[in-house]
Subunit: 359 residues, 4 copies
């Protein structure tokens, strides 16, 4: 039952890495939205492996097909099913994975929980699972943009120790997409790319931090006390493979300020309320306050590294394993569209909830 | 609809600060558990205002009453309703709050979202709301301890810039509860207490970091891909008032390691699998791996500070506001039992889900 | 987890017959609705035992108290908790029930499912459980009436073999409430009352059929394919104690018509669409079509009869049991407000869902 | 959000009649179940149009493909996506349907609710939507049979005025499947078939009653107070196209009995409890009592009849419409596997819930 996300705008994803395909059903999409595959494919292309020299080289076109929920190019209000067929259903390189658990992957926990796992390519634990999220998120982003004027931007803020200072209020998509690492600071982007390339040659991997902002969210989205906007964003982000941390607004750094320093003061201009600072990150009491919503997500270095490591096998015997074949030195560039997608899914759900509750 | 948390073990909370009472319904509690008010009250006492010189001085006994769901001292499997009546229903000191929004509080967002708010004491946004969570969490903790052998411990790890190094595998409840700030490092605890007292005298406030560990969780809890254990923990923690960040295992610091450095290697001893390090924080692929689950929660400094601040009123006019009366210099000591409660609620829900799914 | 009903307007009920109290939390109620106990109490009075000579004589005032969710007489958009304390917490007459299962009651199934049960008064299986439904439904009815112009009426249509012909489009509340059996046909009402009195004297019980209509529901409520309006109504009605059947529009009798006879033809008058007949019962494809929604609910005769009957005890030994004390010869008059309440809960939920989805 | 059914074993269906395909995601299926398309296809074949001379003649093979959730012929515990591609994506015969609403169909309500509808073949309101239910139900039936020993049987009990007397405790699948109308009474089956053939020639349609029994359900399934077993069964049945009524056990006829006559007496034999009659229909207090669960579903005559009828168009102008092309004189034979499927989905969900709650 853990494969559904959202309440009123709800996605249910499916698919294993080397099965027939992966995809999603989007339920609760409002009717009358212009929608074809051309609205989805560009987002999948941003997520696609093999898109640049610094990401995993798996070659898949990831061509999306809409099976239902639209008629003559418009959404019907009925479930939208989307499928991406897997090109790469067979793998010989990985057979050792059938019996040995890769360190810091989910092989062991899946095997123990379910008593079975689709070991080729990691099965359900593969990053291919996020295709359904991105396809669903593409619809959410489009509706947020067209019907609510909300714009979501994500970027790579830090790779290993190389950290950019990015202003969430002014960062531009052109600057983010100007380089393959998706860091809006062109100079640091160059350094990050070189680091990732070097890391790849060493058979190693690096993690980092992705930043995200949602601009234009009106006051009032979020559903206290449990379904606070930041709580649902945190869940969305921490449901991503390899994510290890989330903070919003001042976040972990905010603990170094006192209350007098930290408070965002309200001001009004022509009846329009705003805050002079935004340490709240656009959310107060779990509800959007009209300021930009900005947060960070920490991703660990990917677990697949090209070195022989200690591990155990499915019979709980000690052994060693050396990864072969494809290896992703840094997930961050491809995480950017995924973070945007999950953000969009959280926001559209709360947009609909807000309209339902407060008439 | 945002006042329910959990799926199979599910709490629904209610109550405003200065209304008649606050409380919770726990639905899905297994039958046959020994349960009286004596199991709940000690946890509420740990959360209670006025428990020490460093927390908010509001005087409330917070006496809990179980209205349903038990018979002859045992749970029935039916909903357990618990109520804490508010002693302090009237407040004169706060009347300015009726028309002015306190900076970095939720007054503004509630007013805009709902068009109405219970302004005395912050209404639903008051920390009194967490009483229902702690009462429900007390039951969850008890069942986890008695039926699953799971022990949850939380502590204050950092106050402003005073940071303790706490080993989640060895920290003991006696050391945590040995001082009023609930930091297991006695020397730093003393410093923290002095800092909080000084901060209070200055009419200011400080935030910090709470650490938490769950020991004894078996392999297999967690429900990918969206209801990963860390995703639900993140949601639980980010649903708490004043929380701004969450990370698990290596967390934000993990981005400074390479994959080779970060991986947790598996070893087996007499058929028992373990990892030689625990940067995963006890969760891999969203599922517990048998190691200790440990994570951190960042809390901002409380917003009520005793200084005149710029703000706006309910007519969106600029004004100023100076808080009067009670003032909480640091929420961290009282956050400890709340973090434990939410952790217990997440874990018990996944314990039941695991038993449901994987027979 | 089975004690919550609804998605956006959601009630969670609690309470056992002889515990401290029964009640409900209503979550998702729109803010700004005028609400005090005076809006709830009249509905509870219609449900109350002892209200007339033909219902169970238990004497309880069933006085409701709102604990949260309102401020200065208006709803806040936060959870509304309501409690009715039980006057009658001790019962001596029933002690045999501790060890013997009453035939056609839920004693046996509760004991086997949970391994424990609150046997006094039937515990959670007592009709007192419906108090929370009626309290929550009273709010739903009020909002439907005031904000949507929807009016819900229920009545006793049949008692044992005495069946009234009631036109759902014209039946009036004055005629229903004109007599204690709540049958709008005054002549038949008299016969029903005499039958119930005779049945009571015989220590026996009778069942019957309750009819219900919702007038003024606009086109568009209902959420195919699973959450059709009639599906949610059916679930609501079949969740009531003693209900055994549900049908809508032509219902079971509709099978005797051919398609040509059964179809409701559309006509339009000044752009307003209507149907010339209403065998659909106001719902087509799971969505309201603007006509009156009308349906029936069958209730079995209550299981408590004053005669010695074969049964088994908690050790699964054959024995006999003779009920003592209070005995309800006919639940139908008191079922009327409960059916209305559940109808209102279904409709308000779909009203909010409709507003969420179709902007 | 209305396209998901179930909590722990949960299906989400998709697809329009003349879109690319229809299908389902099953989430929550236990791992380790042997499963290939060969387990699903026979159930779809029982539902298929064109299977006999008395059902709608649309020619579709309805070939199912499993896209995910299995590995080497076993379920993984991950979502199982299944697709049936539509052969018949274009339809010329129906173009009048683009602008006119068919009487007693859902054309009008869908158009008004969503502002758009996939008119070819009825779009989402087509009976093709039930393919996903049957595919998901096939898995549920298999698990119930293999892991719980539960057997579900459904049959045609009444067509128009021809009513069979069927004993739910003894009816056999061989007798049901022995004829194309799926009535276990061979003599009446013959009459029913002749009636349906005559009805078809007249361009008319007939409805009727489907009976269903689940044998072998253990004591304890069902989740009061709202998610009673009969409540969820009622919802499942009333979510089917053309269903108008549901009753369980004695049902509507039970109102003609007094309590003394109606009660099911408990007896025990070698510690095994049973009831001497089964007017409860296998459910008491919302929980299965170990007896056979039996209920009835009333289906109206299908709305498509080959006669010119009054109706309105999408501009709300009066007009007439005469259906052309395919016409289904009686849905009952094809409803049989659908009723079984929905029953299985309700039962498996409660089986898992029971295991989760009551350890």
């Amino acid at each position: 039952m853990g494969n559904t996300f959202g309440h009123l705008f709800r996605i249910t994803t499916f698919g294993e890495s080397h099965g027939k395909g992966v995809g999603v059903i989007v339920d609760g999409c409002p009717p009358g939205v212009d929608l074809t595959e051309a609205d989805i494919q560009p987002e999948l292309d941003r997520r696609r492996p093999g898109q640049s020299k610094i990401v995993t080289p798996r070659k898949e076109a990831d061509h999306v097909e809409i099976l239902s929920g639209t008629f003559e190019g418009k959404t019907l209000g009925t479930p939208i099913a989307m499928v991406v067929h897997n090109a790469d259903q067979r793998s010989e390189a990985y057979t050792e994975m059938a019996t040995k658990f890769r360190p810091s992957h989910a092989d062991y926990t899946y095997q123990e929980k379910y008593g079975i796992r689709a070991w080729p390519g990691g099965g359900r634990t593969s990053a291919r699972e996020t295709i359904g999220r991105v396809a669903g998120g593409a619809i959410a982003k489009k509706i947020l943009r067209e019907r609510f004027g909300v714009k979501i931007l994500s970027w790579v803020q830090q790779v290993h120790k190389i950290a950019a200072a990015v202003d969430p209020d002014t960062v531009r998509v052109e600057d983010i997409e100007a380089n393959i690492v998706r860091c809006p600071d062109a100079g640091l982007a160059e350094k990050m790319i070189r680091l990732i390339e070097r890391t790849r040659r060493q058979g190693d991997s690096v993690g980092g931090i992705v930043g995200c902002v949602a601009r234009g969210v009106p006051v009032g989205w979020g559903d206290p006390v449990f379904d606070r906007l930041e709580a649902d964003l945190a869940k969305a982000m921490m449901s991503l493979p390899a994510s290890k941390g989330f903070d919003i607004g001042s976040g972990f750094d905010g603990v170094l300020l006192s209350g007098k320093e930290h408070n965002d003061l309200f001001r009004a201009k022509r009846g329009q309320v705003y805050t002079t600072t935004n340490r709240s990150g656009g959310v107060q009491g779990g509800i959007s306050n009209g300021e930009s919503i900005h947060f960070r997500v920490a991703f660990k270095p990917t677990a697949t590294v090209l070195v022989e490591q200690d591990t155990v096998d499915i019979n709980h015997k000690n052994t060693t394993l050396k990864a072969r074949g494809r290896h992703d030195p840094c997930v961050l560039p491809r995480a950017v569209p995924i973070v945007e997608s999950m953000t969009a899914l959280v926001l559209i759900d709360h947009a609909l909830r807000h309209h339902a509750q407060c008439r």
